[in-house]
Subunit: 357 residues, 2 copies
């Protein structure tokens, strides 16, 4: 258990790191942010900073020596960086989960190995394998690169008639998985945390609406049965336990309505605080950011109790952030802006939460 005044090292300097650093400061924890990008938003709220490439071993060694524990805001931490830091410090969550979640094929096999359903999937390493997979899984299906995809990047929809070889080449010829179609009625996520003592706590399962492959809206709680919600939380617990996880984890699931009830299909695991947990900043006793800092500090997890009967979070993407004057003036709306210097289409600039009493 770290003492207050200890320093949490954070790899990455985006909005998640920024909100982690601020949440740590509330608890008397110092944040040391490591990122290659000098104008990253987290640098404006942290006690110490390293601006260096993730491959700079001298900078990594100095960083490891200056912090009490290392965590990260994104799953694409290079594996050499993670291995180097693990040799010089404590890294939480443990980097094995990075290897798991950086590769969709590995991740899906891991989830399936726990007896949890995923979308049907096939490994695709060339056009011939894609033809075979498409024949087996049918269409529509989705071809996704195994690595480095997010917010709809690195994926393409295979409808009837789409040329398979061209589709494969459109993703750069990188190793892929083909995912079969899941006729889901809703997307939900479990944002939860596991402490270093093995304690596990989940927030209310929340419901997510994506627009153009980017999260647009989260509503907590999700409109699913209590039984389905409990089952989703159990899946997240199983995954966290199997990965010997410490920190906040997010599990995205599809809900498929069937005669007799709702079936859950795991879509993706994020080994970090997650956009669909931003509602907890204003809508829960402990925010996901504080929860993560508590976990990586070896501290007890906080209460995940929700405020109000319903909480909504809307992302402000690109020009949406220009609505800040009306959002500031809206009764009960809580505006969050990430301090990004440049607005770009598709870029997450902020979000707004609304707690309904």
């Amino acid at each position: 258990m770290l003492r207050p005044g200890s320093t949490i090292g954070i790899l990455g300097g985006g909005q998640l790191a920024r909100m982690l650093a601020s949440a740590g400061a509330r608890l008397g924890l110092r944040a040391h942010v490591f990122s290659p990008a000098a104008d990253d938003p987290a640098f404006e709220v942290c006690a110490a900073r390293t601006i260096a490439p993730f491959e700079d071993e001298a900078a990594l060694a100095a960083f490891a020596a200056a912090v009490d524990v290392v965590t990260y805001e994104f799953e694409n931490v290079p594996s050499d960086t993670a291995a180097f830091l693990e040799a010089h410090s404590v890294v939480r969550p443990n980097p094995r989960v990075l290897a798991l979640t950086q590769d969709r094929f590995t991740e899906k096999n891991f989830v399936r190995g726990l007896g949890i359903e995923t979308a049907p999937f096939e490994n695709v390493e060339d056009a011939a394998m894609l033809a075979e997979a498409a024949a087996s899984l049918g269409r529509p299906s989705i071809l996704k690169t195994r690595r480095f995809g997010y917010d709809g990047k690195g994926q393409t929809l295979l409808r009837e008639g789409v040329d398979l070889a061209a589709a494969f080449q459109s993703l750069g010829g990188a190793p892929c998985v083909l995912e079969g179609f899941v006729p889901f009625s809703r997307e939900v996520s479990v944002v939860a945390a596991r402490g270093s003592d093995g304690a596990f706590r989940a927030y209310d399962v929340c419901e997510n609406v994506h627009e153009r492959h980017i999260l647009a809206l989260t509503v907590a709680p999700a409109r699913i049965s209590a039984q389905t919600a409990a089952a989703a939380v159990e899946m997240a617990r199983k995954i966290a336990e199997a990965a010997d996880y410490v920190g906040v984890i997010a599990v995205e699931l599809f809900v498929v309505e069937e005669a007799g009830g709702e079936r859950l299909v795991v879509n993706e695991i994020a080994p970090r605080v997650h956009n669909s947990g931003h509602w907890t900043l204003d809508g829960a006793v402990t925010s996901q950011f504080e929860q993560h800092m508590r976990a990586v500090a070896g501290w007890p997890l906080g209460s995940t109790r929700r405020h109000g009967v319903r909480v909504e979070m809307r992302n402000l993407i690109g020009d949406d952030a220009e609505k800040w004057p009306e959002l500031l003036a809206e009764e009960g709306a809580c505006l969050h802006l990430y301090g990004k210097k440049e607005t770009r289409a598709g870029r997450k600039m902020g979000h707004v939460t609304r707690v309904f009493p």
Copy 2:
């Protein structure tokens, strides 16, 4: 109206500045903290920093040039500093309120001039004036220095038999006021904000318990009638309007129970965010810190709606902060630690809030 990405200059680097800076960051506002003390807690969460004495005009000029508006976390900003900054930037709240609140005698006359009751008081500049004042106000009464008193510092109780000349000398012979005894049943405060557009919003009136002259506990809402609460808010509004105030203001009041109801007596005005408003960090839609940043940025004020049926805030003074492990483990408790490097008796090290649903 400043744009997001603007810089708010904050004079002072203590916990109030720290929480102001963090609240601003949520809104995409940068904080530039100016303080003479290099290890002040606010320096760990701000985008820019100046470590210099408040009398350093070169540093003040550079600071004024680097920020879009100046605010402060404490009322004892030297008047020359305030005047210099006002000549080079916009200062909010306007520094005339500093002159008002730095001197108990001036403040009480101002309040009384608005038709609002204060404790009976007399100006005391020497032992003879004290003898006269004590004869007029009776005992027990409290002798307070006109300037620089806080948390019970700079004051002494005059009971029957206390030697008046010695009492006056014990406060250094500085100009004082003698305050008559107020037989109050509770202490309450109004934490409110006035926007640059004149809008005024108050949080629920809260009730304060002091121990050894330091705030120990705040409970919102106060156990007073709705009518008394409304009257207290109206006093705060009157004070804020008369001072052409912009920002968060706190008004401390005594509640005196009388046949026929409750009477309100203003004790003190704080031209800043206030310890008795810390409960709003977890217990209200908009924290007092965000509210202050909104006001000084020229933005609309946020909702002051309370979460839960009751919110409590307890200060962690000196060694109290050593209870952090049990507070972290307590269900529903929200721990705040200020990151102060040294624990001292009587020093505010953090606080804990509890929202009762």
